[in-house]
Amino acid sequence: MWKYLKKYWMFIILAPLFMLGEVSMDLLQPKMMSKIVDEGVLGLSNNNVGNLDIVITTGLQMVGVLVIGGLCGVLSGVFATMCSQKFGNDIRKDAFGKIMKLPFEQMDDFSTGSLITRVTNDITQLQNLVAQCIRGFVRTILLFIGGIICMLKLDLDFGVVIACALPLILVCVIYFIAKANPKFSILQAKLDRLNNVMQENVSGSRVVKAYTKEEYEQKRFETANGELVNTQLDVLLLFSYMTPIMNIILNVSVVAVIWVGGIEVKNAAVTPGDVMAAVTYISQILNAVMRMTMIFQTVSRGVASGKRVEEILNCKPVIADGEFAGKTKVKGKIEFKDVSFSYPGMAEETILEHFSLTIQPGETLAIMGETGCGKSTLVNLIPRFFDVTKGQVLVDDVDVKQYKLQALRDKIAIALQKSEIFHMTIGENIAWGNPEADEKMLEHAATTAQAMEFIHTKPEGMHTEVSQSGTSLSGGQKQRVAISRAILKGAEILIFDDATSALDLKTEAKLYEALKKDYPYMTKIIVAQRIASVKDADRIVVMENGSIAACGSHEELLENSSIYQDIYDSQMKKGGEDDGC
């Protein structure tokens, strides 16, 4: 955290400095006031004959002092705001940047709702903390200390009063902070929960409605909301004791000051004006203390939030960059060497076991197999979405762990199972694959992906805006946008992770044909369920329980592999017979 603040040391120094200006002006003022009262109004040094000139000149001086004070105050506010906002902005940007660097397994540790809370709400709390500290806190402390010093200067006996009051206040503050601190961490966690319920409901609204769970969700929300509100109430109720306790301590001090003042005046040690000034100083101190209770709330909350943001900032990505920049002679070769894999934290369930396979440059390899047999996992290991548990994955004869992540992923284009569509135009969605691509390349990729035909029917073609979940596109259209994106990337390895499942067969067949014709040099890995999707591949790997059950061309497998035959039958046999072919 400190390193973020260091950058703004100028502001951090300037803000309190101007604040000092403001406060010292504030402190000068009771002195001038007592002069106005004692000299001007009462005329104590002039045989009790008042002097209006003194009132007016001192009054004008006081206004001057106040203008300076006000200016200082505004400037101090400007610097404090600049510092806290810029500081928060830096952290926010870094936190988001960090999130965008986390591997999936670590991302999964935070929920989406929690990440959102941390990047927005928690950082706002941190900003408040900084602003309060360099402005409010400094001001309060200065007023507090200044008030005490001025009072002591009036008469040392008032010091006795302060000496009694201060330790009491200190104990109070420490007690409340200690009690409140853990509560704020809980509070933010409850906010996460609320955010999560919201997120699930907003993005899963169709399922909620389809199962008529509106009431159930409302109850779920009410629980989360209730917990959040109760925690918040807890905090507020705790702090509700703080102000009155401090108040009573200081008010008793006022009484004591008047008492002491009475005695001193009797002994002619101080003037009644001094007693008045002392009372003013005490109310100033009281004011400062009241503000401090507010500040302590902000600070405690900010500290709790700071911890949560730091959790993101200090998160070390478990998948670290390698050194290799990615220039290789071979282009498009993939090798799995005795790979075993289980998901982090689920070591007992092995997804891949001693898996070995070499894919040659330019080869089209298809992968089939039962749901959950590890097909997607296998292709996820190539761009290092996850790291192997044992063994090695080589791309172009280099271990993927040696690559710079960016370099490795530049070699690979992958269209995913869930075709993610972002809220922008179709064209921009496709251009994600290659931001430098021109209109022509864009259209070429879309044509190959068979997306052009439906894009043409849209009112604004490529410039048609699509919504976040892509609900304005059908499943097959989304997939084709995602495939266009992958093709546009022009990488040496192209992976379709079950990315054509929603395409009708005709479209799919055309897609593969176009792909073969236009991009023959790419190594293609196709994970699919349909025989039609895989039959033209150079080799088809049939996976079972994380290892290879069979491997060969469509014809070979039809002859040798009982599983493949079975899959074929499940899709083809009955229809084939009926049709008499």
Partner: protein, 603 residues
């Protein structure tokens, strides 16, 4: 489905393009917003009254205490020291009452604020779950979330921290002015100059402040939207090495937010010093004129000292009001955004007929539908599904299959024509009833960050564990669940990186099975499931779907081959209808589709 130009109206603050901040920027509405906020307080009028009462006592005490102070100081200056103890005792008593009431006041305002906020969040949420799907389809999810958290929280903070300050501020000003008038009307009138100055300054600053606070909340919503969208689509971001670009976009919004935030904060923090200045000028005026009056013997020293304390006291509430002013502005900006959602019309759920005896005959009669005016998706769509039938919809992507489902579930309503179940228009059937009897498995699986058990039982909370396992076995995910470390008690994560898309589909099929619906809709529900598993699920389904109607959308013809009726759609129209054999013999569109699949395999 067609992309809608109307989306432009609701341009979601996401990545790029012109941003529409207009939907919440209606300055004239701020009075209405305040009134609606006030309505929330109306429900808690007892608590509010109690709060007001304690605030009143606190204010009376803090107005009365200085009076005693001045009496005490008068005693000192006049040398009547024997009176002092009595006065000081009274002061102590007042301070005691003051403290107790302050405590009560804080507690009341804490409870009040949390009650109001709880109610407001619940209202907002229950409105959101009842919003039509089309609204959520076209608005940034992150922004909606931001309204629920950031905006409501601003209101909450304001209510809990500022409400009593506001009350006591106003009361103190009234009380102080009253006291001053009582002590010396002439001096009191002078103090009014301070009030006038204050009001002018407040008005001027508030105008500038509000628009910036509004902008800030909108930007915060945008930021929320970006984070939500990018975190949910994180895999794609990573796969395309777009982290840097995404971060840059985020930074742009973040920088903008910072700029607006700085202006808003500077304005609100200038409020304090400016008020301080005005207030102290008032003080000097009082001292000068007070001195003048004293010199001329019009008032006593004690009254001046009291007046001076009052002048100070006068300053404090004004100063406080200035401090909380920014907060109030943020809260109003937030409330505007919250109410903007609450003003969206809810789903039409006007029907009331029951569906208990429905047999599941579905009739589409001359249905026309378009998501966006002028771009019709379904044209004169007619279809009759007999009870217990298994009907498949096939056709090129974008031919309107999912739209049929959207209409049947009443996620969207038809433009013209009607849809009937057992002869009753679905608009007349209670919406809950309709959906309760219709289970749907969607293209995109939605699972909740909860245990497997709760996810499955989502469709029917009262189902027994046996029934649940039965459903899981039928959808072939029982073994997979058993392999998980904690079985049915395993908590799924939202994004669920450790379950494959196929496995997630199996779980949502199990969920639909468990619902025991009269009508089952599978919209590409098995697209990521391998065909052998799918076949087994289908075999299991035969029993379950006896006497139930099912509607299946699939691209794999193997999925739908044994359907009673296959409907081939093209551009929103039915082009062919019949069972597998009939359609093959017809050698039409279905035959073509089938042959691509078949001939492909025959090489």
């Amino acid at each position: 489905m067609a992309a809608s130009p109307s989306l432009n109206q609701y341009k979601i603050p996401g990545m790029r393009g012109p941003r529409n901040q207009g939907s919440v920027e209606k300055p004239k509405e701020s009075k209405r917003t305040l009134r609606r906020l006030a309505a929330y307080f109306g429900n808690e009028w007892l608590m509010l009254l109690a709060l007001l009462a304690t605030v009143f006592v606190v204010v009376v005490c803090s107005v009365y205490a200085p009076k005693q102070q001045s009496v005490a100081i008068d005693c000192i200056s006049e040398g009547e020291f024997q009176k002092l103890p009595e006065i000081l005792l009274i002061m102590l008593l007042i301070y005691g009452i003051h403290s107790i009431c302050t405590l009560l006041q804080s507690r009341f305002s804490a409870v009040l604020s949390q009650k109001i906020i709880k109610k407001m969040r619940e209202d907002l949420f229950s409105h959101i779950v009842n919003l039509p799907v089309s609204y959520l389809d076209s608005h940034s999810h992150g922004d909606i979330m931001s309204r629920m958290t950031n905006d409501v929280e601003n209101i909450s903070n304001t209510v809990s921290q500022s409400l009593s300050s506001l009350f006591s501020g106003v009361l103190t000003i009234i009380g102080t002015v009253g006291m001053m008038l009582y002590l010396c009307p002439k001096l009191a009138l002078l103090s009014c100059a301070t009030v006038l100055l204050t009001l002018t300054a407040t008005k001027f600053l508030s105008l500038a402040m509000r628009s910036f606070y509004r902008k800030r909340q909108v930007l915060l919503g945008e930021l929320n939207g970006t984070v939500e969208e990018m975190v949910s689509g994180y895999k794609t971001v990573t796969a395309y090495n777009r982290q840097q670009a995404v971060v840059e976009e985020f930074e742009k919004t973040s920088d903008e937010l910072t700029k607006v935030g700085i202006v808003a904060e500077v304005l609100s923090s200038s409020m304090g010093p400016i008020m301080n200045l005005i207030n102290n000028v008032g003080f000097v005026i009082i001292a000068a004129f007070g001195g003048y009056f004293a010199v001329n013997g019009i008032i006593s020293i004690g009254i001046i000292s009291a007046f001076i304390v009052y002048a100070k006291q006068f300053g404090r509430p004004i100063d406080e009001l200035a401090q909380i002013y920014g907060q109030i502005q943020t809260a109003i900006a937030g409330a505007e955004r919250v109410f903007a959602i609450m003003d969206e019309p809810c789903e039409d759920k006007s029907g009331s007929l029951a569906m208990e005896d429905a047999t599941g005959i579905i009739t589409f009669k001359n249905v026309d539908f378009s998501y966006v005016e002028g771009r019709q998706v379904l044209h004169d769509f007619n279809l009759e599904v007999q009870a217990g039938q298994k009907v498949a919809l096939v056709g090129a992507t974008g031919s309107g299959k999912t739209t049929v489902v959207n209409l049947l579930m009443r996620f969207y309503d038809v433009d013209s024509g009607e849809i009937q179940i057992d002869g009753k228009n679905i608009k007349d059937i209670a919406c809950m009833e309709l959906r309760k009897n219709t289970a749907i498995v969607l293209q995109d699986t939605v699972l909740f960050a909860d245990t497997v058990r709760n996810n499955l039982k989502y469709s029917r909370t009262e189902a027994t564990d046996e029934e649940m396992e039965e459903a899981a076995k039928m959808s072939h995910c029982h073994n997979m669940i058993k392999r998980l470390k904690k079985g049915y008690n395993t908590v799924l994560s939202g994004e669920g990186y450790n379950l494959s898309a196929g496995q997630r589909q199996l779980l949502s099929i199990a969920r639909a099975f468990l619902a025991k619906p009269k009508i089952l809709i599978l919209d590409e529900a098995t697209s990521s499931v391998d065909t052998r598993t799918e076949k087994k699920i289908q075999d299991a389904m035969v029993n379950l779907m006896k006497n139930r109607t099912s509607l299946i959308i699939a691209h794999r013809l193997s999925t739908i081959r044994d359907a009673d009726c296959i409907v081939v759609m093209d551009q929103g129209r039915i082009v062919e209808k019949g069972n597998h054999e009939e359609l093959l013999q017809k050698k039409g569109r279905y035959y073509e589709l089938y042959m691509t699949q078949f001939s492909g395999n025959a090489t």
